[in-house]
């Protein structure tokens, strides 16, 4: 219940003004604690975080529809385990960004390091630059859209979700893939074991078009993309497939 008079003004003001956290002055632990105190609520406040300077585990474990803006480059595991929040990194992200994300949106304006979106179950991860090796490793339902290219072993052992690569993919794409779907616009240096190209049907063009729109990627023609998926030969070990391991 809102108060009256001066109290009401104050509360209204705090709703409008973003929380500004300078990580040179506040520890990551204190920041994350403040964010976790809102977990389980419907709080939609804005959080402005400055000077991440490669610090680890910035804004992990959020479980509320917060809007978090991070100005600068982050270190390991930024946005990990995210649920409901919209997290934007105005810089590059270190290894394991958005790992194990459950829902919400993590957007990286720069490049992402190794294993972006590892094991993530849901939500949308948008990388506006390039992603490094093992992007989407063991992804379990997340959607990942990369405007640039991805490094080797993209979508390694990916189980569910969609990985969209608007640039090129390095060697070993989709190795030991389960049911995740991969769309690539550029060149694929090489497919991993049990990953094959599959035809693009109308339903796939629709799906891809929706993902690109959701990620805010414009000016791309879905007809330029190819689709890759699992040949489903490695689900169970078969001695005839030993060479593929």
């Amino acid at each position: 219940m809102l108060g009256t008079g001066a109290g009401e003004d104050l509360q209204l003001e705090s709703l409008m003004t973003p929380h500004c956290i300078d990580l040179e002055a506040t520890s990551v632990r204190d920041l994350n604690q403040a964010l976790h105190e809102l977990n389980g609520t419907q709080e939609k406040s804005d959080w402005q975080i400055t000077n991440p300077k490669g610090r680890h585990a910035v804004a992990v474990g959020i479980d509320a529809p917060l809007n978090v803006n991070i100005d600068g480059h982050t270190g390991y595991y930024c946005g990990g385990m995210n649920k409901h929040a919209t997290i934007t990194i105005n810089g590059n992200a270190g290894p394991g960004v958005a790992e194990n994300m459950m829902s919400g949106l993590v957007r990286i304006r720069g490049n992402a390091s190794q294993y972006a979106g590892a094991t993530a179950h849901g939500g949308l991860l948008v990388i506006e630059g390039n992603a490094s090796s093992r992007c989407g490793i063991s992804m379990k339902g997340v959607d990942i859209v990369v405007r640039g290219s991805v490094g080797h072993m993209g979508a390694f052992m990916a189980q569910a979700g969609r990985l969209v690569i608007c640039g090129d993919a390095a060697d070993g794409l989709g190795d030991s893939l389960y049911e995740a779907r991969i769309y690539v616009r550029g060149k694929v240096a090489g497919l991993g074991a049990d990953c094959i190209e599959k035809p693009m049907g109308a339903e796939h063009r629709r799906e891809l078009s929706g993902l690109l729109a959701k990620a805010g990627m414009t000016g791309l023609d879905v007809a330029q993309f190819r689709r890759y998926g699992s040949a489903r030969k490695l689900y169970n070990f078969n001695i005839d497939n030993v060479d593929a391991y």
């Binding site: 300077k53 490669g54 610090r55 600068g72 480059h73 270190g75 390991y76 590059n92 270190g94 290894p95 490049n111 390091s113 190794q114 490094s132 090796s133 490094g151 080797h152």
Partner: protein, 298 residues
């Protein structure tokens, strides 16, 4: 896990503050390696005909004067010596090839950390900040430098197990990772005359590069063959007389980031070690690709 950092100055201002900048970088890598730390700094080149050695004694109370006296009598009429605790930097006028044998015969308790024209290697056990303070690295000027913070995973924590490792004249190696074929490779290299002082895997990588270059390989050729013959995980930074090189194994699990501005080129295990450099916010940053040699030189 370990932390590695490298800094290459492109301006006189960075050269003047090289030790301070490198120290700030290495202190950021403390959590990656709190056991021991070391640096290789390229500075104050010896005059033509001179050889610069960094010598490590078993204790800070070492009788350095006796070493100097013996050197003057038997090796070099001119000897410059600067003492930093249990390390001494010597400049001699002698044939570099014979110096190792002379030390082994007369002062076997001393270890030559480095030899060359401008390289100096300092290393010790303890937190990076304490090790850097011990040698007053923050005061050093220089053209380029490498640093390492060690978290031992496969062998003992001693000064001898610490990085950087010398790989030849003005050459050194720092390593983040672990090698799985180092025992067999060490045996092979020992038969070729390479001497190892520890059971450390990174020392084998250093010995391997040294051996390849003795065989006539260029640094790039030696690194190319390292990709074939070293089995395991590695991000290497290799210091050379004029600059440094970076190489990651083909799987590239061990992190590495590089950054460049008009003033400097830097490499580190993590961006937070680069964030402390002037102008880092606007630096161009990228992750070195697997199995690709990157190198800079003056």
């Amino acid at each position: 896990m370990c932390g590695i950092v490298g800094l290459f100055a492109k301006s006189k201002a960075i050269e003047a503050g090289l030790g301070a900048h490198l120290s700030n970088m290495l202190i950021e890598m403390t959590e990656r390696g709190p056991d021991s730390a070391g640096v290789a700094v390229y500075r104050r080149p010896a005059s033509p005909g001179g050889v610069k050695l960094t010598v490590l004694a078993p204790a800070a109370s070492y009788a350095w004067d006796e070493l100097k006296k013996a050197l003057i009598e038997q090796v070099s009429q001119q000897v410059e010596m600067e003492i930093h605790g249990n390390h001494a930097v010597l400049i001699l006028h002698a044939d570099a090839a014979g110096i190792y044998d002379w030390f082994a015969a007369h002062f076997p308790e001393l270890h030559i950390n480095s030899s060359g024209v401008s390289i100096e290697i300092y290393k010790d056990k303890g937190l990076p900040e304490n090790v850097l303070n011990r040698f007053e690295v923050k005061q050093f000027t220089g053209t380029h430098a490498l640093g390492h913070s060690r978290m031992a995973t496969e062998s003992n924590v001693t000064i001898q197990h610490s990085h950087p490792f010398s790989t030849g004249q003005d050459l050194c190696l720092v390593h983040n990772g672990s090698l799985s074929n180092h025992n067999r490779l060490r045996e092979k290299l020992q038969k070729q005359g390479i001497i190892f002082r520890t059971d450390n895997d990174s020392e084998v990588a250093a010995g391997y590069l040294m051996h390849r270059m003795w065989q006539g390989d260029s640094l790039d050729e030696a690194l190319e063959s390292a990709l074939e013959n070293l089995d395991g995980f590695f991000t290497f930074a290799i210091g050379t007389r004029d600059g440094f090189a970076v190489l990651r194994d083909p799987v590239a699990c061990k992190p590495a980031i590089m950054a460049e501005t008009a003033e400097w080129v830097a490499m580190a295990s993590e961006y937070r070690a680069i964030a402390v450099l002037p102008g880092a916010d606007s630096a161009e940053c990228w992750e070195p690709a697997p199995a690709k040699i990157y190198s800079w030189s003056h």
